[in-house]
């Protein structure tokens, strides 16, 4: 059964995203929220890690958190889906367990 991984820390401040990606299973979803949305930007410090993981793992970013930080118009890394809070709720329904890497 798949797991929804929720990451909320900036990749410049914390290794949470990297460590989460290293432990996520194929078919899991990683959702970037709060300061972790900075990881979703092209050329971010975490861009290569995310690109490597994308084949196995779905990666989503929470749109309102991008907008709050001035990135509403910016395109995230290719392959990352933008979702809203309704999408967040749907993801948590679709996965058996949610894990917050805070």
């Amino acid at each position: 059964m798949s797991v929804l991984h929720i990451v909320n820390r900036s990749p410049c401040e914390s290794r949470s995203l990297e460590l989460c990606l290293a432990r996520a299973a194929a078919g899991d979803t990683v959702l970037l929220i709060e300061n972790a949305v900075y990881a979703a930007m092209r050329d971010s410090i975490a861009a290569r890690q995310i690109e490597t993981a994308l084949g196995r793992i779905a990666v989503c970013v929470l749109e309102p958190d991008l907008a709050a930080r001035g990135f509403a118009a910016a395109a995230p890394l290719e392959g990352i889906a933008r979702i809203d809070y309704a999408g967040f709720v749907e993801l948590s329904v679709a996965h058996r367990a949610a894990l917050s890497w805070c």
Binding site: M1, L19, D28
Partner: protein, 119 residues
């Protein structure tokens, strides 16, 4: 109803009373007859370091609390091997017997849980 509940400890000890409150939650969930497991990864492995003595820093000695987990039926303690080696620790440095998991085995553990709580 019985659920598989996994607690993940990722923080080093002596950071406020976080470990203390997390252990209260671990024990209480177990006392309600749920299947509780604890996974130590990242700096959380330092929680199990032997010979901790926080007297000089004026903090409560929480390390012995881990020994009390068995009283409440929590017997499955997992430690990620890479988290230990990245911190120059080995199994001998730990205060309790644990099951070692390789990093690529963690996904399997996570995937078999109904509830995952981190702290």
């Amino acid at each position: 109803m019985n659920k598989n509940v996994l607690f993940i400890m990722r923080r080093a000890p002596h950071a406020g009373n976080h470990a203390h409150e997390t252990l209260d939650a671990v024990m209480t969930v177990a006392a309600f007859d749920q299947s509780v497991r604890v996974l130590f990864v990242d700096d959380g492995v330092f929680q199990l370091k032997k010979d901790q003595d926080p007297a000089a820093i004026g903090l409560k000695h929480v390390a012995p609390w881990f020994q009390a987990l068995r009283i409440y039926g929590v017997h499955e303690l997992f430690v990620e091997a890479e988290s230990l080696s990245e911190r120059s620790l080995g199994e001998d440095d730990l205060s309790l017997p644990v099951q070692l998991l390789q990093r690529d085995q963690i996904a399997g553990l996570l995937g078999s849980q109904d509830v995952i709580l981190t702290s």
